[in-house]
Amino acid sequence: MLNSDCNPASSTLTDLNLSIVKEISTLIDNSDFNEARDYLTSLSEQQIYDNTWDLCTYLFELLERPSDKLCNEYEIYSEDTLTHVAQYGNPREMLIIMLEQSDKFISDKAFAFHIKLFFIILKRLPLKASIITYIDDILSLLKCHLTTVELPKITNDFAGKDLLVFNHDYRVNKLLKLTQLYVDFICQLRDYFSTTPTINIVPILGKYLISVLQNPLSSLSYEPIDSQESSSFTLIRPLLDCLFTLNPNPLQFIDNKEDQSVFIYLVLTKKKYFSLLPCVYSPFFYLILSIPIIQQLSNDREQVMLTEKACVLVSTVCSWLRPNSEFNENSLNNNDLHTLIDTLKTCMVQSPARQYAPLTIGAYRSLFRSFDHFGRYTFLRQQIAKTSCNEDSYRTFLCSLLKDEFLYDYRSLSSEIYKGPSLFQLLDRLCNLPNGVESDLLEIYDCLCSTLNFIRFIGLIDKRGVNRTLLWTERLNRLNETFLKPLRKSIDLARAHYKLEIRNRKEDNKPEPMDTEILVDNKLLSMPSKQEQMETLHSAVTKFDILDCILSALTETFGGDL
């Protein structure tokens, strides 16, 4: 087959390109770095422009070449000459090569150097709309490097000192240093393009700043330790400051809340930045804005740092709600509020980060108190109705809220919500044995105790002669028949069963053959010793005795009626 390349001009150009690179590489191979430098700088601007592709290909490869010497001359030479090429070469070609070579982009020094080159190149590209695409590619590439930084782990049950150690870990510091370089680059771009109103890069810069907060910076902690500002937060302040210079109301950047959750958390929970927001937004606005964020951040409870942010955010926004007047019962038609309640419940009950549990309980109480009186009643009614019996701890919590509400209602003589049918509806939901006399009392123990105590409380506060709640005359009998009598029977059955079990184990000294095995990480979980098993059984019997005591107290309070 004939050689189809018959154009003598292009072959001459190719030969020339190759000869320039060849000349440089020969000098480098002979370690004549100064001569090689002089050779490159002696080339005309046109020659550098025409040879950008080959020069960059060679020089970027040279940049990665290792050296035995203390001072890597290949690196020094490449950096100097690449900077020179960036200043005089074909910026588009150089940019393409740099973007294509992203897999070689592994050291932090290279990261910083690439930022320097990108800035030089961007300043030389024509000011057209397409430059925004280039900036997008560059920022995306640089961000990738940040996301590859390994971070230390922290356990779910961290305490103050653990967090201090975490915050000062060298890997965290490394990430923050690289982030600083990234932010500085964005600030440079902001300043440079601020003089070109036809090219609006503010949205793209804002997008990447917020995106870096989301990943990888979401894994860091920004909460104070012993009232001292977190070092991580100190180091990301420039990022937030930059955001505010891009848009004085950065809430306008929000378009996809789930990808912007860390940003929203920071802006709403850090006083300095919150005070920069417009002072006209309502607490309700901030609450609704935060709800999907709180839900998203608390979804993966293994990610402790995210749960921490969710807890702090929910505590903050709920504390702003006006007590007794923010919401009424109609507000409960707003599904967002139900999402928030469910999320709070999950955080309270299942959050592994124990130190943040009080925050979520406080937030729940703030949310609850923000409803007016009838709103709170409806809130409790709905929650009790939709919570199954096996969510014992949550039902117990609701019962405690109910008790407070009842007392408040009873004492304010004008309001009469907790009486008659409206009270009885709640009692019916609470006074419930899910499987009748065969219910597992230990599974619903806490709520049972709370419920019985609540009934007794009503009897103590609203005496027989007063009977404002109408409990004495209209509900006591039914309560006795449908709940208390079956409960007594259930206690007797359960106690007898456990006592029999105790007796059998005492009499039979042979080890019990195990018919089940529990494996954790492929290791057999050791079953409790016989003594531990006996203790558990005894403890169960004690609990039944306690229930009996409470029932006796109940009988005493209501006289012969129970």
Binding site: L2, C279, F285, N330, N335
Partner: protein
């Protein structure tokens, strides 16, 4: 307007515009606006403002930020005083609102700038206001202006029964005027445009709104002989509605019951050829039963059957819609629940066949045959696959044969040309040798 005296013995000029006439919001017009129009609830408004305390201390200013402030009116996004006060303004108007704490930040205050129980003063300039964009894509394909605010928070959800009055106009001509009831998600059965149905899920009871629809939101108006994608306007009043039960409010037994109801309705829609609507119903079954935790074995079994049937029928709907990718996806979900489900294996095979994935299709049909050797449809489909594979191979053979033939011809031509050049060069050289004597 007569000045209003305050408890602090400071005279504040203006009119009390608070609903309770309790002096909570005093408005003084500094510069009159133009026109008669005022912003409506849900409108997006654009303002500049300066906020000060009673002693004149400035705590905030959009002018200092050099950026207009925008928000949606009447939604509680801003302090009460603003929702009430800005609604009374006209374009171009500048006013001063003096807001008691009850209409501002109350006993909590806000941040470090606004202490608790603080009266605030805002000087506000209203520049413009526009209807609310209700479209999911935020492309202004559904723009609402609320003419009469509705009641409460509740809005119709998917599956809710709504009673509405509507009037559609196109080029100032009324093309649709009626009062009717229908179920959200099934509005197409009664020629309700998609945009109207979507807007209803954002409306409250007794709300009267004007909707401007364009592009995809107008789907359905072509039934009124209006060209597709033509902008139209609808006046809609949501007279009443009954919400479909929300998932969170149902216990497991109720979810199971609702799932049965949905399955029945989905079947009816399928029979009527409304496959997309049927898919939505089947998907809802999946949502209901996903987190259900039934205690009785019967209920568990029922739930499993419903889930499987929903996935399988979803696959069939997609097959009818020729959406083979989604059909395969649904089949695979069903096969996760029941790996030996003949119908889903067969449907997946059909999809693969339609997409010319012959090997995958053959595998599925063979699997069906293994489960049920007497399945004649599978046998026929296997034969069809084989025929199609054969035809495809034949086609490829022909294609490559043509390519190679062309390449061979090209080579011959070039060789011939090369030979001609060589002969000419040799002849020239010969001539040189014979003519050159020195």
């Amino acid at each position: 307007m007569p000045p209003t005296e305050t408890n602090e013995q400071t005279t504040i000029k203006g009119e009390d515009i608070s609903p309770a006439k309790d002096g909570g919001i005093i408005k003084e017009i500094i510069k009159e606006g133009h026109g008669d129009e005022r912003p409506l609830t849900n409108d997006k408004v654009y303002v500049h403002y300066v906020g000060t305390l009673l002693d004149g201390t400035k705590f905030d200013s959009s002018r200092d930020r050099n950026q207009q402030f925008d928000f949606e009116l009447g939604k509680g996004s801003v302090i009460k005083a603003w929702d009430i006060g800005v609604a009374t303004m006209k374009r171009g108007e500048i006013c001063r609102l003096t807001c008691k704490p009850e209409y501002a930040y109350g006993e909590n205050g806000s941040g470090e700038k606004i202490p608790p129980h603080t009266t605030l003063v805002f000087e506000i300039e209203l520049f413009d206001f526009v209807g609310e964009d209700l479209s999911e894509a935020k492309d202004h394909s559904i723009v609402r202006r609320t003419l009469t605010k509705g009641e409460g928070w509740a809005k119709p959800n998917d599956g809710a029964t709504v009673e509405v009055t509507l009037k559609g106009t196109y080029q100032n001509q009324v093309f649709d005027e009626r009062t009717l009831s229908f179920t959200i998600g099934e509005g197409f059965l009664q020629n309700i445009p998609e945009g109207v149905e979507h807007a209803l899920t954002k409306m409250t009871k007794n709300e009267h709104a004007q909707l401007k629809l364009k592009s995809k939101a107008t789907t359905g108006v072509e039934k009124f002989n209006i060209p597709a994608n033509t902008p139209v306007q609808y006046d809609v009043t949501l007279i009443n509605f009954e919400k479909a039960k929300e998932t969170w409010s149902m216990n497991d037994a109720e979810k199971l019951e609702q799932a049965e109801v949905l399955k029945k309705r989905a079947g009816e829609l399928f029979t009527g050829g409304h496959y997309q609507a049927a898919v939505k119903k089947y998907n809802k079954i999946g949502d209901y039963l996903q987190t259900a935790n039934h205690e009785s074995e019967d209920d568990k079994k029922k739930a499993q059957e419903l889930k499987l049937s929903a996935q399988s029928n979803t696959a069939l709907c997609y097959l009818k819609l020729n959406d083979y990718v989604e059909c395969i996806r649904s089949c695979e979900k069903a096969l996760e629940l029941d790996p030996k489900n003949e119908k889903c294996l067969f449907r997946r095979g059909q999809c693969h066949l339609a997409m010319s994935n012959f090997e995958e299709a053959l595998k599925d049909f063979h699997d069906v045959q293994k489960l049920n050797p007497s399945n004649s449809a599978a046998a026929q489909s296997i034969q069809k696959c084989r025929d199609q594979i054969k035809a495809y191979q034949q086609k490829e053979k022909q294609l490559y044969a043509n390519i190679f033939a062309k390449m061979a011809k090209q080579n011959e031509k070039m060789e011939a040309q090369a030979a001609t050049v060589e002969v000419t060069t040799n002849e020239e050289n010969k001539e040189d040798q014979t003519t050159t004597t020195n």
